[in-house]
Symmetry: C2
Subunit: 263 residues, 2 copies
Protein backbone atom coordinates (compact mmCIF):
# COMPACT_ATOMS: atom_id res chain seq x y z
CA UNK A 1 0.00 0.00 0.00
CA UNK A 2 2.90 2.36 0.53
CA UNK A 3 6.16 3.02 -1.21
CA UNK A 4 8.91 0.59 -0.45
CA UNK A 5 11.90 2.81 0.30
CA UNK A 6 13.15 0.60 3.12
CA UNK A 7 11.69 -2.67 1.93
CA UNK A 8 15.05 -4.42 1.95
CA UNK A 9 16.08 -3.40 5.46
CA UNK A 10 12.85 -3.92 7.41
CA UNK A 11 10.62 -6.98 7.77
CA UNK A 12 7.33 -7.05 5.79
CA UNK A 13 5.25 -5.26 8.43
CA UNK A 14 1.52 -5.89 8.28
CA UNK A 15 -1.10 -3.64 9.86
CA UNK A 16 -4.41 -5.35 10.64
CA UNK A 17 -7.17 -2.79 11.16
CA UNK A 18 -10.68 -1.95 9.97
CA UNK A 19 -10.74 -0.71 6.37
CA UNK A 20 -11.86 2.70 5.07
CA UNK A 21 -11.45 4.72 8.31
CA UNK A 22 -8.37 6.31 9.90
CA UNK A 23 -9.31 5.14 13.43
CA UNK A 24 -6.64 3.81 15.75
CA UNK A 25 -4.86 2.30 12.76
CA UNK A 26 -3.85 5.82 11.75
CA UNK A 27 -1.43 6.13 14.68
CA UNK A 28 0.42 3.10 13.26
CA UNK A 29 0.27 4.28 9.64
CA UNK A 30 1.83 7.61 10.61
CA UNK A 31 4.98 6.02 12.05
CA UNK A 32 5.44 3.93 8.91
CA UNK A 33 4.84 6.90 6.63
CA UNK A 34 7.02 9.31 8.61
CA UNK A 35 9.94 6.91 8.28
CA UNK A 36 9.32 5.80 4.69
CA UNK A 37 8.86 2.24 5.89
CA UNK A 38 7.13 -0.28 3.66
CA UNK A 39 4.02 -1.92 5.15
CA UNK A 40 0.87 -3.71 4.09
CA UNK A 41 -2.43 -2.25 5.30
CA UNK A 42 -4.12 -5.60 4.88
CA UNK A 43 -7.81 -4.70 5.15
CA UNK A 44 -7.40 -1.81 2.72
CA UNK A 45 -5.19 -3.78 0.33
CA UNK A 46 -7.84 -6.12 -1.07
CA UNK A 47 -11.58 -6.72 -1.06
CA UNK A 48 -11.38 -9.68 1.31
CA UNK A 49 -8.71 -8.07 3.50
CA UNK A 50 -11.32 -7.39 6.16
CA UNK A 51 -11.28 -11.13 6.90
CA UNK A 52 -7.93 -10.62 8.59
CA UNK A 53 -9.64 -8.28 11.09
CA UNK A 54 -12.65 -10.54 11.60
CA UNK A 55 -10.37 -13.50 12.19
CA UNK A 56 -8.30 -11.46 14.66
CA UNK A 57 -11.28 -10.62 16.86
CA UNK A 58 -13.05 -13.99 16.68
CA UNK A 59 -14.40 -14.33 20.23
CA UNK A 60 -13.66 -18.06 20.21
CA UNK A 61 -10.06 -17.80 19.09
CA UNK A 62 -7.25 -18.65 21.47
CA UNK A 63 -4.49 -17.28 19.23
CA UNK A 64 -3.75 -14.58 16.71
CA UNK A 65 -1.60 -17.16 14.91
CA UNK A 66 1.90 -18.61 15.22
CA UNK A 67 1.66 -19.10 18.98
CA UNK A 68 0.78 -15.47 19.71
CA UNK A 69 -2.00 -14.78 22.23
CA UNK A 70 -5.41 -13.72 20.91
CA UNK A 71 -5.93 -9.99 20.31
CA UNK A 72 -8.60 -8.09 22.24
CA UNK A 73 -9.25 -5.59 19.44
CA UNK A 74 -7.61 -4.11 16.35
CA UNK A 75 -5.18 -2.62 15.47
CA UNK A 76 -2.68 -5.45 15.47
CA UNK A 77 0.80 -5.55 13.99
CA UNK A 78 2.19 -8.70 12.39
CA UNK A 79 5.92 -9.01 11.89
CA UNK A 80 7.02 -12.18 10.08
CA UNK A 81 10.12 -13.82 11.52
CA UNK A 82 10.21 -11.79 14.73
CA UNK A 83 8.14 -14.04 17.01
CA UNK A 84 8.87 -17.21 18.97
CA UNK A 85 10.98 -19.80 17.11
CA UNK A 86 11.32 -17.57 14.07
CA UNK A 87 7.57 -17.43 13.48
CA UNK A 88 5.55 -14.22 13.11
CA UNK A 89 5.16 -11.83 16.05
CA UNK A 90 1.66 -10.40 16.55
CA UNK A 91 1.13 -7.44 18.90
CA UNK A 92 -2.17 -5.71 19.67
CA UNK A 93 -2.93 -2.45 21.58
CA UNK A 94 -1.94 0.81 19.90
CA UNK A 95 0.58 1.99 22.56
CA UNK A 96 2.31 -1.40 22.59
CA UNK A 97 2.60 -1.39 18.78
CA UNK A 98 3.94 2.18 18.87
CA UNK A 99 6.53 1.25 21.51
CA UNK A 100 7.68 -1.68 19.37
CA UNK A 101 7.87 0.25 16.12
CA UNK A 102 9.33 3.30 17.85
CA UNK A 103 12.36 1.23 18.85
CA UNK A 104 12.74 -0.35 15.41
CA UNK A 105 12.19 2.80 13.35
CA UNK A 106 14.12 5.26 15.53
CA UNK A 107 11.08 7.23 16.71
CA UNK A 108 11.56 6.46 20.42
CA UNK A 109 14.17 8.96 21.58
CA UNK A 110 17.88 8.83 22.28
CA UNK A 111 17.96 7.24 25.74
CA UNK A 112 15.84 5.47 28.34
CA UNK A 113 14.43 8.70 29.80
CA UNK A 114 13.28 9.98 26.41
CA UNK A 115 11.89 6.57 25.52
CA UNK A 116 9.56 6.62 28.52
CA UNK A 117 8.58 10.29 28.16
CA UNK A 118 7.64 9.58 24.53
CA UNK A 119 5.49 6.61 25.49
CA UNK A 120 3.85 8.66 28.27
CA UNK A 121 2.98 11.58 25.99
CA UNK A 122 1.60 9.19 23.35
CA UNK A 123 -0.53 7.50 26.03
CA UNK A 124 -1.87 10.89 27.10
CA UNK A 125 -2.81 11.74 23.50
CA UNK A 126 -4.54 8.35 23.20
CA UNK A 127 -6.49 9.10 26.39
CA UNK A 128 -7.68 12.32 24.74
CA UNK A 129 -8.54 10.27 21.64
CA UNK A 130 -10.73 7.98 23.78
CA UNK A 131 -12.45 10.93 25.43
CA UNK A 132 -13.18 12.43 22.00
CA UNK A 133 -14.75 9.12 20.95
CA UNK A 134 -16.87 9.04 24.11
CA UNK A 135 -18.41 12.45 23.35
CA UNK A 136 -20.59 10.68 20.75
CA UNK A 137 -20.76 7.34 22.57
CA UNK A 138 -20.97 8.18 26.29
CA UNK A 139 -23.28 5.28 27.22
CA UNK A 140 -22.39 2.26 25.07
CA UNK A 141 -20.36 1.45 21.97
CA UNK A 142 -23.09 -0.83 20.65
CA UNK A 143 -25.77 1.90 20.62
CA UNK A 144 -26.23 4.34 17.76
CA UNK A 145 -25.31 7.95 18.43
CA UNK A 146 -28.96 8.89 18.00
CA UNK A 147 -29.84 6.61 20.91
CA UNK A 148 -27.43 8.40 23.27
CA UNK A 149 -27.67 11.90 21.87
CA UNK A 150 -28.95 13.62 25.02
CA UNK A 151 -26.03 12.26 27.01
CA UNK A 152 -23.66 13.18 24.17
CA UNK A 153 -24.79 16.80 24.20
CA UNK A 154 -24.14 16.99 27.91
CA UNK A 155 -20.78 15.24 27.79
CA UNK A 156 -19.48 17.17 24.77
CA UNK A 157 -20.00 20.49 26.56
CA UNK A 158 -17.76 19.42 29.46
CA UNK A 159 -15.28 17.91 27.04
CA UNK A 160 -14.95 21.14 25.06
CA UNK A 161 -14.93 23.49 28.03
CA UNK A 162 -12.79 21.52 30.52
CA UNK A 163 -10.95 18.67 28.94
CA UNK A 164 -9.64 20.30 25.76
CA UNK A 165 -8.02 23.21 27.66
CA UNK A 166 -6.48 20.76 30.13
CA UNK A 167 -4.89 18.58 27.44
CA UNK A 168 -3.94 21.45 25.12
CA UNK A 169 -2.43 23.42 28.01
CA UNK A 170 -0.43 20.38 29.00
CA UNK A 171 1.06 19.77 25.57
CA UNK A 172 1.77 23.49 25.17
CA UNK A 173 3.85 23.33 28.38
CA UNK A 174 5.69 20.20 27.26
CA UNK A 175 6.63 21.85 23.97
CA UNK A 176 7.77 25.07 25.62
CA UNK A 177 9.87 23.23 28.19
CA UNK A 178 11.68 21.14 25.56
CA UNK A 179 14.12 23.78 24.35
CA UNK A 180 15.91 21.37 22.04
CA UNK A 181 12.70 20.76 20.13
CA UNK A 182 12.09 24.47 19.40
CA UNK A 183 8.33 23.95 19.60
CA UNK A 184 8.44 21.41 16.79
CA UNK A 185 9.00 18.25 18.85
CA UNK A 186 7.69 17.11 22.23
CA UNK A 187 10.85 15.26 23.27
CA UNK A 188 14.42 15.96 22.14
CA UNK A 189 15.41 17.51 18.82
CA UNK A 190 13.77 15.11 16.39
CA UNK A 191 10.51 13.45 15.46
CA UNK A 192 9.12 10.70 17.74
CA UNK A 193 5.91 8.69 17.87
CA UNK A 194 4.70 11.08 20.59
CA UNK A 195 4.67 13.82 17.93
CA UNK A 196 2.80 11.80 15.32
CA UNK A 197 0.27 10.59 17.91
CA UNK A 198 -0.46 14.01 19.41
CA UNK A 199 -0.65 15.46 15.91
CA UNK A 200 -3.23 12.90 14.75
CA UNK A 201 -5.47 13.64 17.73
CA UNK A 202 -5.26 17.41 17.12
CA UNK A 203 -6.09 16.83 13.47
CA UNK A 204 -9.09 14.69 14.36
CA UNK A 205 -10.35 17.27 16.85
CA UNK A 206 -10.14 19.98 14.18
CA UNK A 207 -12.44 17.83 12.05
CA UNK A 208 -14.87 16.94 14.84
CA UNK A 209 -15.07 20.31 16.63
CA UNK A 210 -14.13 22.93 14.02
CA UNK A 211 -15.82 25.89 15.73
CA UNK A 212 -14.41 25.08 19.14
CA UNK A 213 -10.90 24.62 17.82
CA UNK A 214 -11.05 27.78 15.73
CA UNK A 215 -12.01 29.70 18.87
CA UNK A 216 -9.34 28.35 21.24
CA UNK A 217 -6.32 27.42 19.12
CA UNK A 218 -4.85 30.89 19.57
CA UNK A 219 -4.48 30.20 23.30
CA UNK A 220 -1.94 27.47 22.48
CA UNK A 221 0.29 29.03 19.81
CA UNK A 222 3.22 26.64 20.18
CA UNK A 223 0.95 23.61 19.90
CA UNK A 224 -1.12 24.76 16.94
CA UNK A 225 1.14 27.09 15.00
CA UNK A 226 4.62 25.71 15.47
CA UNK A 227 3.96 22.05 16.28
CA UNK A 228 0.79 21.14 14.38
CA UNK A 229 1.78 22.97 11.21
CA UNK A 230 5.37 21.79 11.49
CA UNK A 231 4.57 18.08 11.72
CA UNK A 232 2.46 18.34 8.55
CA UNK A 233 5.59 19.37 6.66
CA UNK A 234 7.82 16.54 7.93
CA UNK A 235 9.41 14.39 5.24
CA UNK A 236 7.26 11.34 4.57
CA UNK A 237 4.20 12.82 6.28
CA UNK A 238 3.71 15.70 3.84
CA UNK A 239 3.63 13.29 0.91
CA UNK A 240 1.39 10.84 2.78
CA UNK A 241 -1.17 13.44 3.84
CA UNK A 242 -1.58 14.51 0.21
CA UNK A 243 -1.94 10.91 -0.99
CA UNK A 244 -5.01 8.71 -1.31
CA UNK A 245 -3.58 6.44 1.39
CA UNK A 246 -4.66 9.07 3.93
CA UNK A 247 -8.27 8.07 4.59
CA UNK A 248 -10.94 10.71 5.25
CA UNK A 249 -12.65 11.02 8.64
CA UNK A 250 -16.24 9.81 8.59
CA UNK A 251 -18.02 7.57 11.13
CA UNK A 252 -15.04 6.55 13.26
CA UNK A 253 -13.51 8.04 16.40
CA UNK A 254 -13.69 11.61 15.12
CA UNK A 255 -17.14 12.57 13.86
CA UNK A 256 -18.47 15.97 12.99
CA UNK A 257 -21.86 16.42 14.65
CA UNK A 258 -22.47 20.19 14.52
CA UNK A 259 -24.69 20.03 17.61
CA UNK A 260 -21.78 18.72 19.71
CA UNK A 261 -19.51 21.59 18.63
CA UNK A 262 -19.45 25.12 20.06
CA UNK A 263 -22.73 26.86 19.22
Amino acid sequence: MSTAKKARTTPPYELIYWPSIPGRGEFIRLVFEATGTSYTDTANASKDGINSVLSLIDAKSTTSGDGNPPAFAPPALKVPGEGKEGKALVIYQTPSILAYLGDKLDLAGSDEAEKHWILSHALTALDLNNEAHDTHHPIAVQLYYEDQKDESLRKAKFFRESRLPKFFGYFERVLKANEEGKGKYLVGAKLSFADTTVWQVLDGLKFAFPKELAAIEKDYPTLFETFYNGIKEEGGLKEYLASDRRLPYSEGIFRHYPELDRQ
Copy 2:
Protein backbone atom coordinates in the same frame (compact mmCIF):
# COMPACT_ATOMS: atom_id res chain seq x y z
CA MET B 1 6.29 2.57 53.80
CA SER B 2 7.27 -0.94 52.79
CA THR B 3 9.85 -3.45 53.87
CA ALA B 4 13.29 -2.94 52.48
CA LYS B 5 14.38 -6.38 51.32
CA LYS B 6 16.09 -5.09 48.21
CA ALA B 7 16.98 -1.64 49.45
CA ARG B 8 20.65 -2.11 48.69
CA THR B 9 20.24 -3.38 45.13
CA THR B 10 17.57 -1.04 43.76
CA PRO B 11 17.38 2.77 43.63
CA PRO B 12 15.14 4.55 46.18
CA TYR B 13 11.97 4.38 44.10
CA GLU B 14 9.35 6.99 44.90
CA LEU B 15 5.66 6.67 43.99
CA ILE B 16 3.79 9.97 43.74
CA TYR B 17 0.03 9.42 43.90
CA TRP B 18 -3.06 10.61 45.78
CA PRO B 19 -3.09 9.41 49.41
CA SER B 20 -5.67 7.12 51.08
CA ILE B 21 -7.08 5.43 47.95
CA PRO B 22 -5.78 2.50 45.91
CA GLY B 23 -6.56 4.19 42.57
CA ARG B 24 -4.10 3.94 39.71
CA GLY B 25 -1.26 4.02 42.22
CA GLU B 26 -2.19 0.49 43.21
CA PHE B 27 -0.96 -0.95 39.90
CA ILE B 28 2.47 0.43 40.76
CA ARG B 29 2.39 -0.66 44.41
CA LEU B 30 1.61 -4.24 43.36
CA VAL B 31 4.76 -4.58 41.25
CA PHE B 32 6.89 -3.31 44.13
CA GLU B 33 5.19 -5.56 46.66
CA ALA B 34 5.24 -8.65 44.43
CA THR B 35 9.01 -8.32 44.06
CA GLY B 36 9.80 -7.28 47.63
CA THR B 37 11.19 -3.99 46.33
CA SER B 38 11.62 -1.06 48.70
CA TYR B 39 9.73 2.11 47.73
CA THR B 40 8.39 5.28 49.26
CA ASP B 41 4.70 5.98 48.78
CA THR B 42 5.26 9.67 49.33
CA ALA B 43 1.73 11.00 49.81
CA ASN B 44 0.90 8.22 52.27
CA ALA B 45 4.24 8.49 54.10
CA SER B 46 3.66 11.82 55.85
CA LYS B 47 0.97 14.41 56.49
CA ASP B 48 2.33 16.89 53.97
CA GLY B 49 3.20 14.19 51.44
CA ILE B 50 0.22 15.26 49.35
CA ASN B 51 2.17 18.35 48.41
CA SER B 52 4.28 16.17 46.12
CA VAL B 53 1.11 15.33 44.15
CA LEU B 54 -0.16 18.92 44.08
CA SER B 55 3.22 20.15 42.88
CA LEU B 56 3.29 17.45 40.21
CA ILE B 57 -0.01 18.52 38.66
CA ASP B 58 0.46 22.29 38.96
CA ALA B 59 -1.09 23.54 35.72
CA LYS B 60 1.58 26.21 35.37
CA SER B 61 4.56 23.93 35.81
CA THR B 62 6.85 23.21 32.88
CA THR B 63 8.73 20.42 34.64
CA SER B 64 8.31 17.61 37.13
CA GLY B 65 11.81 18.44 38.34
CA ASP B 66 15.41 17.72 37.28
CA GLY B 67 14.76 18.49 33.63
CA ASN B 68 11.90 16.01 33.29
CA PRO B 69 8.79 17.14 31.38
CA PRO B 70 5.69 18.08 33.39
CA ALA B 71 3.32 15.25 34.29
CA PHE B 72 -0.28 15.26 33.03
CA ALA B 73 -1.65 13.39 36.04
CA PRO B 74 -0.56 11.07 38.84
CA PRO B 75 0.72 8.43 39.32
CA ALA B 76 4.34 9.38 38.68
CA LEU B 77 7.49 7.43 39.47
CA LYS B 78 10.66 9.18 40.57
CA VAL B 79 13.95 7.32 40.35
CA PRO B 80 16.95 9.24 41.75
CA GLY B 81 20.09 8.96 39.65
CA GLU B 82 18.43 7.41 36.58
CA GLY B 83 17.56 10.55 34.62
CA LYS B 84 19.55 12.89 32.37
CA GLU B 85 23.04 13.78 33.65
CA GLY B 86 22.66 11.55 36.70
CA LYS B 87 19.63 13.46 37.99
CA ALA B 88 16.31 11.91 38.92
CA LEU B 89 14.12 10.34 36.26
CA VAL B 90 10.40 11.13 36.51
CA ILE B 91 7.88 9.11 34.47
CA TYR B 92 4.10 9.56 34.45
CA GLN B 93 1.29 7.40 32.92
CA THR B 94 0.60 4.03 34.56
CA PRO B 95 1.47 1.83 31.54
CA SER B 96 4.75 3.68 30.99
CA ILE B 97 5.71 3.27 34.67
CA LEU B 98 4.77 -0.42 34.53
CA ALA B 99 6.89 -0.94 31.40
CA TYR B 100 9.86 0.73 33.11
CA LEU B 101 9.55 -1.18 36.39
CA GLY B 102 8.70 -4.40 34.60
CA ASP B 103 12.10 -4.33 32.90
CA LYS B 104 13.95 -3.45 36.11
CA LEU B 105 12.13 -5.86 38.41
CA ASP B 106 11.93 -8.84 36.05
CA LEU B 107 8.15 -8.71 35.59
CA ALA B 108 8.26 -8.13 31.83
CA GLY B 109 8.76 -11.59 30.35
CA SER B 110 11.69 -13.49 28.94
CA ASP B 111 11.99 -12.04 25.43
CA GLU B 112 10.76 -9.23 23.18
CA ALA B 113 7.56 -11.03 22.21
CA GLU B 114 6.55 -11.64 25.82
CA LYS B 115 7.50 -8.08 26.77
CA HIS B 116 5.02 -6.65 24.27
CA TRP B 117 2.26 -9.18 25.03
CA ILE B 118 2.57 -8.29 28.72
CA LEU B 119 2.31 -4.58 28.01
CA SER B 120 -0.68 -5.19 25.71
CA HIS B 121 -2.58 -7.25 28.28
CA ALA B 122 -1.88 -4.66 31.00
CA LEU B 123 -3.17 -1.91 28.68
CA THR B 124 -6.33 -3.92 28.08
CA ALA B 125 -6.89 -4.30 31.83
CA LEU B 126 -6.34 -0.56 32.26
CA ASP B 127 -8.93 0.09 29.55
CA LEU B 128 -11.38 -2.00 31.59
CA ASN B 129 -10.33 -0.02 34.67
CA ASN B 130 -11.24 3.22 32.86
CA GLU B 131 -14.59 1.84 31.72
CA ALA B 132 -15.35 0.80 35.32
CA HIS B 133 -14.61 4.36 36.44
CA ASP B 134 -16.85 5.78 33.74
CA THR B 135 -19.86 3.77 34.98
CA HIS B 136 -20.14 6.28 37.84
CA HIS B 137 -18.76 9.26 35.89
CA PRO B 138 -20.11 8.90 32.34
CA ILE B 139 -20.54 12.64 31.70
CA ALA B 140 -17.73 14.54 33.45
CA VAL B 141 -15.05 13.88 36.08
CA GLN B 142 -15.75 17.21 37.76
CA LEU B 143 -19.43 16.45 38.45
CA TYR B 144 -20.60 14.51 41.48
CA TYR B 145 -22.00 11.04 40.85
CA GLU B 146 -25.40 12.26 42.03
CA ASP B 147 -25.39 14.81 39.21
CA GLN B 148 -24.91 12.14 36.54
CA LYS B 149 -26.77 9.28 38.16
CA ASP B 150 -29.36 8.75 35.42
CA GLU B 151 -26.62 8.38 32.84
CA SER B 152 -24.67 6.13 35.22
CA LEU B 153 -27.60 3.77 35.61
CA ARG B 154 -27.90 3.46 31.87
CA LYS B 155 -24.18 3.03 31.25
CA ALA B 156 -23.62 0.53 34.08
CA LYS B 157 -26.23 -1.81 32.61
CA PHE B 158 -24.39 -2.01 29.28
CA PHE B 159 -21.07 -2.29 31.10
CA ARG B 160 -22.24 -5.25 33.18
CA GLU B 161 -24.07 -7.05 30.39
CA SER B 162 -21.74 -6.45 27.42
CA ARG B 163 -18.35 -5.21 28.47
CA LEU B 164 -17.60 -7.47 31.42
CA PRO B 165 -18.27 -10.67 29.43
CA LYS B 166 -16.14 -9.34 26.57
CA PHE B 167 -13.12 -8.60 28.78
CA PHE B 168 -13.51 -11.65 31.04
CA GLY B 169 -13.93 -13.94 28.05
CA TYR B 170 -10.82 -12.47 26.50
CA PHE B 171 -8.61 -13.00 29.55
CA GLU B 172 -10.03 -16.51 30.02
CA ARG B 173 -8.89 -17.34 26.48
CA VAL B 174 -5.44 -15.83 27.05
CA LEU B 175 -4.97 -17.92 30.18
CA LYS B 176 -6.16 -21.12 28.53
CA ALA B 177 -3.91 -20.60 25.51
CA ASN B 178 -0.79 -20.04 27.62
CA GLU B 179 -0.07 -23.67 28.49
CA GLU B 180 3.16 -22.81 30.28
CA GLY B 181 1.27 -20.62 32.73
CA LYS B 182 -1.15 -23.40 33.77
CA GLY B 183 -3.93 -20.86 34.26
CA LYS B 184 -1.91 -18.98 36.83
CA TYR B 185 -0.07 -16.56 34.54
CA LEU B 186 -1.15 -14.70 31.40
CA VAL B 187 2.24 -14.85 29.68
CA GLY B 188 4.96 -17.49 30.15
CA ALA B 189 5.52 -19.52 33.30
CA LYS B 190 5.99 -16.77 35.87
CA LEU B 191 4.45 -13.62 37.29
CA SER B 192 4.42 -10.43 35.15
CA PHE B 193 2.93 -6.97 35.53
CA ALA B 194 0.11 -8.12 33.23
CA ASP B 195 -0.94 -10.52 35.99
CA THR B 196 -0.83 -7.96 38.80
CA THR B 197 -2.69 -5.41 36.66
CA VAL B 198 -5.47 -7.74 35.52
CA TRP B 199 -5.76 -9.06 39.10
CA GLN B 200 -6.22 -5.57 40.57
CA VAL B 201 -9.00 -4.74 38.10
CA LEU B 202 -10.80 -8.02 38.89
CA ASP B 203 -10.46 -7.30 42.59
CA GLY B 204 -11.87 -3.79 42.17
CA LEU B 205 -14.79 -5.09 40.10
CA LYS B 206 -15.63 -7.62 42.85
CA PHE B 207 -15.89 -4.66 45.25
CA ALA B 208 -17.89 -2.42 42.92
CA PHE B 209 -20.26 -4.98 41.39
CA PRO B 210 -20.47 -7.85 43.93
CA LYS B 211 -23.80 -9.26 42.75
CA GLU B 212 -22.86 -9.17 39.08
CA LEU B 213 -19.51 -10.82 39.68
CA ALA B 214 -21.01 -13.48 41.96
CA ALA B 215 -23.43 -14.33 39.16
CA ILE B 216 -20.98 -14.58 36.26
CA GLU B 217 -17.61 -15.61 37.71
CA LYS B 218 -18.46 -19.28 37.20
CA ASP B 219 -18.48 -18.69 33.43
CA TYR B 220 -14.74 -17.90 33.60
CA PRO B 221 -13.31 -20.59 35.88
CA THR B 222 -9.67 -20.23 34.82
CA LEU B 223 -9.77 -16.46 35.35
CA PHE B 224 -11.53 -16.42 38.71
CA GLU B 225 -10.62 -19.74 40.32
CA THR B 226 -7.12 -20.50 39.13
CA PHE B 227 -5.77 -17.06 38.24
CA TYR B 228 -7.47 -14.63 40.65
CA ASN B 229 -7.09 -16.90 43.66
CA GLY B 230 -3.57 -17.92 42.65
CA ILE B 231 -2.21 -14.37 42.36
CA LYS B 232 -3.47 -13.60 45.89
CA GLU B 233 -1.14 -16.31 47.18
CA GLU B 234 2.00 -15.13 45.36
CA GLY B 235 4.98 -14.40 47.57
CA GLY B 236 5.06 -10.71 48.48
CA LEU B 237 1.45 -10.14 47.45
CA LYS B 238 -0.08 -12.40 50.09
CA GLU B 239 1.75 -10.52 52.85
CA TYR B 240 0.93 -7.14 51.31
CA LEU B 241 -2.78 -7.81 50.89
CA ALA B 242 -3.01 -8.68 54.60
CA SER B 243 -1.07 -5.56 55.64
CA ASP B 244 -2.28 -2.05 56.39
CA ARG B 245 -0.36 -0.79 53.35
CA ARG B 246 -3.18 -2.24 51.22
CA LEU B 247 -5.67 0.65 51.20
CA PRO B 248 -9.42 -0.01 51.21
CA TYR B 249 -11.62 0.89 48.24
CA SER B 250 -13.84 3.90 48.88
CA GLU B 251 -14.52 6.86 46.60
CA GLY B 252 -11.95 6.19 43.88
CA ILE B 253 -12.13 4.29 40.61
CA PHE B 254 -14.01 1.35 42.11
CA ARG B 255 -17.10 2.41 44.06
CA HIS B 256 -19.91 0.28 45.37
CA TYR B 257 -23.20 1.90 44.40
CA PRO B 258 -25.79 -0.90 44.86
CA GLU B 259 -28.09 0.66 42.25
CA LEU B 260 -25.39 0.23 39.56
CA ASP B 261 -24.94 -3.47 40.34
CA ARG B 262 -27.13 -6.34 39.13
CA GLN B 263 -30.62 -6.03 40.68
